[in-house]
């Protein structure tokens, strides 16, 4: 049962600290490779020109927005069923990054849309669903910051994330339905002949974003742990023995 030992914030804190540099390094390497493939190696698109290269960050950002929300919901289930503080803290740590990626997906989508289809915003299924996903993130963050009692905030946020994640496929389905009903334009993110090189670049960028997310979430959860547990003796140990460790392991 040794892995459950890391369910306590006290034990998880140093573990997270050791993991962060690894994931940061992976993110940097994969990001460099992905950007090289996407910006340099991949050929220019016949119709769209250079602008299409935006998909190499647009699609990973959109995927990350979705994945992170699902991950939050899973932590939410853990938090509610096993009543572990750390699960709730991980949710709180992941949410800002998820919201950021979702917002970036919208922004890059708009900048890709304007030169390609003429408008910054298209009410197609994917973009609209991404917008609603951003609302869900904002709602979660607003809720956990509005409730002063941390335990209640944790549980309420967990329930909200779970309810939201159940709704996300329903919302996506309904928005696609709405879109076809109104014969809206469909934004094909490289649907047809996606060269394997381009797909590879997108996948590598996605993994880079994953590694980045893990590193950032681990760092943020360390901050949350310190902020919340500042009365605990083990944190006092940190204070007494290794003050620089907290700042040094910032990223």
């Amino acid at each position: 049962m040794s892995i459950f030992r890391y369910a306590s914030p006290a034990a998880f804190y140093p573990l997270a600290g050791r993991l962060i540099p690894w994931f940061a390094a992976i993110a940097a390497v994969l990001g460099a490779v992905g950007l090289y493939l996407g910006l340099v190696a991949a050929p220019v698109d016949f119709q769209q020109g250079e602008v299409y290269r935006i998909i190499f960050i647009h699609v990973p950002a959109a995927w990350m927005g979705m994945f992170i929300y699902l991950l939050m919901a899973m932590y939410g289930i853990l938090a509610l069923t096993f009543n572990t503080r750390l699960s709730a803290m991980m949710m709180e740590a992941l949410a800002p990054t998820g919201a950021m990626f979702t917002a970036l997906a919208l922004w890059t989508g708009a900048l890709w849309g304007k030169p390609t289809w003429g408008t910054y915003w298209v009410w197609d299924a994917r973009m609209t669903s991404t917008l609603i996903l951003l609302f869900l993130y904002v709602g979660y963050l607003a809720l956990i910051h509005a409730i002063e009692d941390k335990k209640r905030a944790d549980k309420a946020g967990a329930l909200l994330a779970i309810v939201g994640s159940v709704n996300v496929p329903i919302i996506y389905f309904s928005v696609r339905w709405w879109n076809t009903l109104h014969q809206g334009s469909s934004v094909n993110a490289g649907s047809s002949k996606m060269a394997s090189l381009m797909l590879l670049a997108m996948l590598i960028m996605t993994f880079a974003c994953w590694a980045y997310t893990i590193a950032v979430a681990l760092a943020r959860v360390r901050a949350i742990i310190v902020e919340r547990e500042h009365n605990a003796a083990w944190v006092g140990h940190l204070r007494a023995n290794a003050m620089g460790q907290i700042e040094g392991k910032a990223a």
Partner: protein, 233 residues
């Protein structure tokens, strides 16, 4: 979390029925509130022609969306009264520790809420649709959609209301939480009327609303009860 189902003596249905009756009694005493919801509904719907002009073709086109959005907002405004009063005076706490499972009580309260908000709105909607020039079949489809959809709005709203109980600025926060969840109901409900207007089959949209209603009935009371439990602890 499972204590919303077990740990009680009586069957959930009995608790639901009692909670329903109690809330309806209370609503009867404040009859004006139901009237207020209807008036709000009418006012919001009327804002749109005022905002974009009386051109009848345009109004006919936007009517389903306008009526549905107005219904959404009207239900949203009535949600605070679902739990807030009972939370403030301690009744909710007593209900939670009573021998009736919280899930039954939540169901009863949600039912009473729908009867005093969603149902009156549904019954009034044909009149408003007429103002926008919708014909008989479209009005029927709109009412059917609202009949299926407004309970779902009450159920989802109950979860949001319970999560934000006693929170400062809770009403606005609740709206932010609940409105994205309302989107599928809005799409299928308004979509049904538009399909009817376009001569397409409405069965698909209405069936999806029905499915949403069933899913809500299965999951929402449990989620709402859990949220109440979280708020009370």
């Amino acid at each position: 979390m499972s204590d919303v189902l077990i740990g009680a003596v009586h069957a959930p249905e009995r608790g639901a029925w009692l909670a329903l009756r109690r809330d309806l009694h209370l609503a009867l005493r404040t009859r004006g509130e139901v009237l207020q919801v209807l008036v709000f509904f009418v006012i919001v719907v009327s804002l749109f022609p005022l905002a974009i002009g009386p051109e009848s073709a345009l109004l006919k086109r936007i009517a389903p969306g306008v009526v549905w959005v107005a219904a959404l907002l009207s239900v949203l405004l009535t949600l605070p009264r679902l739990f807030a009063q009972d939370f403030a005076d301690g009744t909710l706490e007593q209900l939670a520790t009573s021998p009736y499972p919280l899930i039954g009580i939540a169901t009863g309260k949600i039912g009473a809420h729908w009867l005093t908000s969603g149902l009156p709105l549904t019954l009034l909607s044909p009149l408003l649709g007429l103002q926008f020039g919708l014909d008989g079949r479209e009005l029927a489809v709109m009412a059917a959609g609202l009949m299926l959809g407004t309970p779902v709005l009450s159920m989802l709203g109950a979860i949001g209301a319970a999560l934000t109980l006693g929170v400062r600025g809770g009403a606005m926060l609740m709206a932010l939480l609940v409105l994205p969840l309302y989107v599928p109901v809005l799409i299928f409900g308004a979509g049904a009327v538009e399909a009817s207007a376009a001569g397409i089959d409405v069965a698909a949209n209405l069936s999806l609303l029905g499915a949403a209603l069933l899913l809500g009935l299965l999951a929402a009371p449990f989620a709402a009860a859990t949220a109440i439990r979280i708020a009370l602890d």
